[in-house]
């Protein structure tokens, strides 16, 4: 690992001013940052340790719950406000990484973790995300883990987070502070597609800090499921994952939420399939139509071709599992 300066901050103001210099970055749980530094993928000159910032609570607000940026993934996954109101998020969190890593990982760090594309990690290979303009080794290379939606000619990597797929499905918002003012944006607008600048994973600007994520209350808690398909039963990144939540009243779907992981550069929300399901009965036929609709525009790159079949099957299965949990 490269040598660096280490600064511990306890206030928002200090955090923002310490991270202003070009080669300064925030250190939260360190589970992604330290890994990348050990591999030489990134070499910051200053780490600003934000673990002592006061954003470490989960609270009830007038319209939902607020999860602080420093809350650990394990704590969020077990908190009664989360398990009772948003079981989908709890399942998504628990499917990620390992108990040890979840004890370290934070809400803000999880959102900002980088892709697991093998070429991004391999500093001897061209990669537009790590080294803009050098090319994309994945295109024409080994693509088993790569995207099928929203790709560009510059990058076909996926965002690896499970938590983020849950938050995208649950209409969460992100609060970002620059030390002087705050802005709130939709979670689905936080991560971006690679386009012509894959080096940027999201819309966070230099000198900005995520302070919290808000989730509005909904009626989707009874029929929710997070299905994660991976190479082993646990402790592995998703090949494809699906967050599915349904509000079923009198046998009809009042509203649906669907998002996928492992298929795009950002958590992939399936708005059209959701709309299609609204007002319909939770039947296999309707679920199948939604799954097929969701696959519109999907494109594979060699070794990830299996995802074109796996993804709709996973959507179908997740919808059944969500519907099956119905108390009625």
């Amino acid at each position: 690992m490269n040598p660096f300066d280490y600064k511990r901050v306890t206030t928002l103001k200090d955090a923002i001013s310490a991270v202003k210099p070009a080669a300064s970055v925030f250190l939260a749980g360190g589970t992604n940052l330290i890994d990348l530094m050990k591999r030489g993928v990134t070499a910051p000159e200053t780490l600003v340790d934000i673990n002592n910032l006061p954003y470490n609570k989960i609270e009830k607000t007038a319209t939902g719950i607020r999860i602080g940026a420093m809350v650990h993934n394990s704590d969020a996954s077990e908190h009664p406000l989360v398990t009772e109101n948003f079981p989908l998020l709890s399942l998504a969190l628990k499917s990620g990484a390992s108990p040890q890593l979840r004890n370290m990982a934070t809400t803000g760090g999880n959102m900002n973790q980088r892709t697991r594309c093998g070429y991004f990690y391999d500093t001897t290979m061209p990669c537009n995300k790590r080294s803009p303009g050098s090319g994309c080794s994945a295109i024409g290379g080994y693509t088993r883990m790569h995207a099928i939606f929203g790709t560009s000619e510059q990058c076909i990597a996926v965002h690896p987070s499970d938590m983020c797929v849950g938050l995208a499905a649950l209409d969460a918002t992100v609060t970002i502070s620059n030390g002087k003012s705050e802005k709130k944006i939709l979670f689905t607008d936080y991560h971006r597609l690679p386009g012509t600048d894959p080096s940027k994973d999201n819309i966070l600007q230099k000198g900005e800090l995520i302070t919290a994520v808000d989730i509005p209350f909904n009626k989707l808690a009874k029929n929710a499921y997070y299905l994660k398909i991976r190479d082993r039963a646990s402790y592995a990144f998703a090949l494809v994952s699906v967050a599915a939540a349904l509000d079923i009243q009198n046998g009809l779907i009042q509203s649906a939420r669907l998002a996928m992981g492992g298929v795009a550069h950002k958590p992939w929300r399936l708005f059209e399939a959701e709309n299609m399901l609204q007002g319909k009965r939770p039947t296999n036929d309707n679920f199948l139509s939604a799954a097929n609709l969701a696959m519109t525009g999907a494109k594979s790159f060699g070794a990830n071709q299996f995802k074109l079949k796996l993804a709709p099957n996973a959507i179908l299965e997740a919808l059944h599992l969500a519907a099956g949990k119905s108390a009625s």
Partner: protein
């Protein structure tokens, strides 16, 4: 050279910063980390020095208070093994992928390979060396022996530290739950089924874990 060796006792008072100021940037260049090279190109001796600056670290390890000096880039795992010679904690992958380095920090199980030592300031660390009460093994250690929860034993300290928390967290209610909540510990020997038996036995034994 008449300069004192910076590593010796007699020189303890003067900091590494002084050493780097005295020595030429060429010496630092041989160490070649990017930021150092960049800093020396710009003639920023001060920056070179600060990159190697050690920080004070007060931490309690296995109920013993330590007052240490560490470079910020030293992981808790390397501090334990290389500086304190607590070699019970193992390095498997060094990247969070195997769990061999699992220790407890303020009662929570974490991967010490991805934990910077400086982030444990003021905290309590427990390693496998701190689990037994004197000659009396911890019930989970005892259970691993009784159920043959290992073959080569390399993953075992991490497995045991992880298992203690798995039980304390309330995640050892049935074998499936143990498998899921012990999944952060890989065993190349494949002693998994005996590990699950050991954890279930320790949990059911009713002893204080």
């Amino acid at each position: 050279m008449k300069e004192k060796n910076p590593g010796t006792e007699e020189n303890k008072g003067s900091s590494r910063r002084t050493f780097f100021k005295q020595s030429s940037a060429i010496a630092a260049l041989a160490l070649t980390p990017v930021s150092i090279v960049k800093a020396s190109e710009k003639g920023l001796d001060e920056k070179i020095a600060s990159a190697f600056e050690k920080m004070p670290l007060r931490v309690e390890i296995n109920s013993k208070a330590y007052s240490l000096e560490v470079e910020p880039r030293v992981t808790l795992l390397d501090l334990l093994r290389e500086q304190l010679h607590l070699t019970g904690t193992k390095k498997g992958c060094d990247h969070g992928q195997c769990g061999a380095c699992t220790v407890h920090v303020d009662g929570r199980r974490v991967n010490s390979c991805l934990t910077l030592a400086v982030t444990t300031e003021g905290k309590k660390v427990i390693t496998i060396e701190g689990l037994a009460k004197g000659e009396e093994l911890h019930p989970v250690q005892q259970a691993f022996i009784q159920f043959d929860g290992f073959q080569c034993g390399y993953c075992t300290p991490g497995q045991i530290m992880s298992a203690v928390c798995c039980i304390r967290e309330g995640h050892a209610n049935d074998p499936d739950q143990v498998r899921e909540f012990m999944s952060g510990n890989i065993c190349r020997c494949g002693a998994y089924s005996n590990i699950v038996d050991a954890v279930m036995h320790a949990k059911k034994g009713g002893q204080q874990i």
